[in-house]
């Protein structure tokens, strides 16, 4: 473990989310959804919302902290942080950035939030119909490579070729999220189970790796999480959930233009995951439950491999529905239903679920969960991960 680790210094004190909607179905504007989530997180923590003095988010969230602070009537905005780039790759980094601000004394009560109403703004899965393109896009869009599904299938196809990973792995990951969502009333896919034949018969989005059910939803909603110092958290309403370790970034030339990353067939975690474990002082064998961001099921598979839970050659045996399920699986995965079946809250919903697991409040509770892995936005750059844990692991 490194000397300057965040381990045990900061805790999640509160979590909250808006109602989750299919895209275009939120009756409220995106900004209102953000406020609802933040106020719910404050209530969950048992703090006066006016105690909030910092904000951290990612992916160019449209809801400016200064506007939120004015709306909430905050007396003193002390920290305002946006994590660069990477789409959903920044969600764990936003938690880590907020925690770092508390550890450094910049702020005392930081909200990590994401609000996203894809029905009110452009959808991620659609291309802009620009007549001309330049830069990186000039080498991709004219050939029909525009959406995230199209950009990242290329990585996964090569990875699965290199290691002989079968599409059954992707089906198991999708079915796991749907199975867990059936116990989660918040989930958009609650009451809509997915069976193997429905998956197998679903249309290709991008052959040979992305069927419809391999791709995340597009939703409207907001989520928020409140960070305070470990000392403060122990005086609050909820069981503190501590930050145990955090890391972000990507490996050599991951962002090289036109798919020229040195290690292209990757989820971008090959250097990040080892740093994460060093910061936390734990190993994959210590982790009780894994929340791994599903932009696509391929990303989940590669990220779980690159976090050391199984070797790539073992993927076909490791990724099975029984093994990923909370009912007796070796590595319970995406226990809320995640981006595929709970809500595509750009991954922040998965962070909230990790908090519930450590508190013992999940609707798919892993018995006695003490350490939760949260993996953000695989295949983009920069990516990030955090490990959360209970007081027992400190």
């Amino acid at each position: 473990m490194i000397d300057r680790s965040i381990r045990g210094k900061v805790a999640v004190a509160g979590i909250g989310e808006s109602i989750y909607y299919k895209h275009g179905q939120s009756p409220d504007p995106e900004f209102v959804l953000a406020l609802q989530a933040i106020l719910k997180a404050a209530a969950d923590a048992g703090i006066d919302p006016k105690e909030i003095d910092g904000f951290a988010s990612y992916s160019n969230d449209r809801n400016d902290p200064s506007r939120i602070a004015a709306a909430l009537g905050l007396p003193d905005l002390r920290f305002s942080n946006m994590h660069w780039g990477g789409g959903g790759g920044g969600v764990a980094a936003a938690v880590a950035n907020g925690a770092a601000a508390i550890a450094a004394g910049y702020a005392d009560c930081v909200v990590v939030f994401r609000a996203l109403a894809q029905g009110q703004f452009r959808r991620f899965g659609e291309a802009m119909p620009d007549p001309t393109v330049s830069g990186d896009a000039a080498y991709m869009s004219p050939y029909g490579v525009m959406s995230p599904a199209q950009k990242y299938a290329m990585r996964a196809t090569r990875f699965m070729h290199d290691y002989g990973v079968k599409n059954d792995v992707l089906r198991a990951i999708a079915m796991t999220s749907y199975q867990h969502a059936q116990n989660n009333p918040r989930a958009i896919r609650y009451g809509r189970p997915l069976d193997a034949s429905t998956y197998d018969e679903s249309r290709w989005i991008v052959e040979p790796v992305n069927r419809l059910y391999d791709c995340c939803q597009e939703n409207d909603g907001a989520a928020a999480l409140i960070l305070v110092s470990a000392e403060r958290a122990r005086d609050l309403k909820q069981t503190p959930v501590y930050l145990i370790g955090a890391a972000q970034g990507s490996d050599h030339r991951c962002g090289a233009p036109v798919m020229n990353a040195s290690r292209f067939a990757s989820s971008s975690f090959t250097t990040v995951a080892p740093r994460l474990y060093r910061s936390a002082g734990v190993t994959p064998a210590d982790i009780d439950v894994v929340q791994s961001y599903e932009n696509f099921t391929t990303g989940v598979m590669m990220a779980v491999v690159e976090h050391g839970f199984c070797a790539p050659e073992e993927a076909n045996e490791f990724f099975t529905l029984p093994n990923l399920s909370t009912s007796g699986g070796k590595m319970p995965l995406n226990t809320s239903g995640g981006n595929l079946a709970e809500c595509y809250m750009h991954g922040l919903g998965l962070q909230l679920e990790a908090v519930r697991q450590i508190r013992g409040q999940s609707c798919n509770q892993v018995p006695d969960a003490k350490l939760a892995m949260n993996i953000a936005g695989p295949m983009v750059t920069p990516v990030s991960s955090v490990i959360m844990g209970s007081a027992e692991v400190l």
Partner: protein
Amino acid sequence: MSENNYYLPADMPSPVPSPDGLDAPYWEGTRRTELLVQKCGACGNWQWGPEWLCHHCQSFDLAWQEVEGKGVIYSWERPWHPVHPALNGRGAYTVVLVELPGAGNVRMIGNLLGPDDQVVEIGAAVEAVFEAHDDADVPYTLVQWQLTG
């Protein structure tokens, strides 16, 4: 839509050189049916996509070198779901990521010409085909790929 031999519909986005001039030599080269890749004048490192600085030795002395249009399929995909209005009704199309062994194994993206349902093998040899869009507002040429022999 005009009569043409384009692999994808004519009203797909058109590439234009970046406003800072970085990759103008590449697009000018394709108009002459020449495939140009950056090569560092200081250390000889091949580099793609276009960049201002050699990532190996940090020299700004990047030259444009013509390379043979011969490559190997490194990865591939076949998008079915149209995400751009021009693709509505086109049906599935094949995209390949091609490694160029003659240029330090840099990778380029293009369509694999041929039947839309052809079997694609990683490792298969391909050669460049220049697809000229002379009727575009700003004429340009795409580099496409087809199986060798």
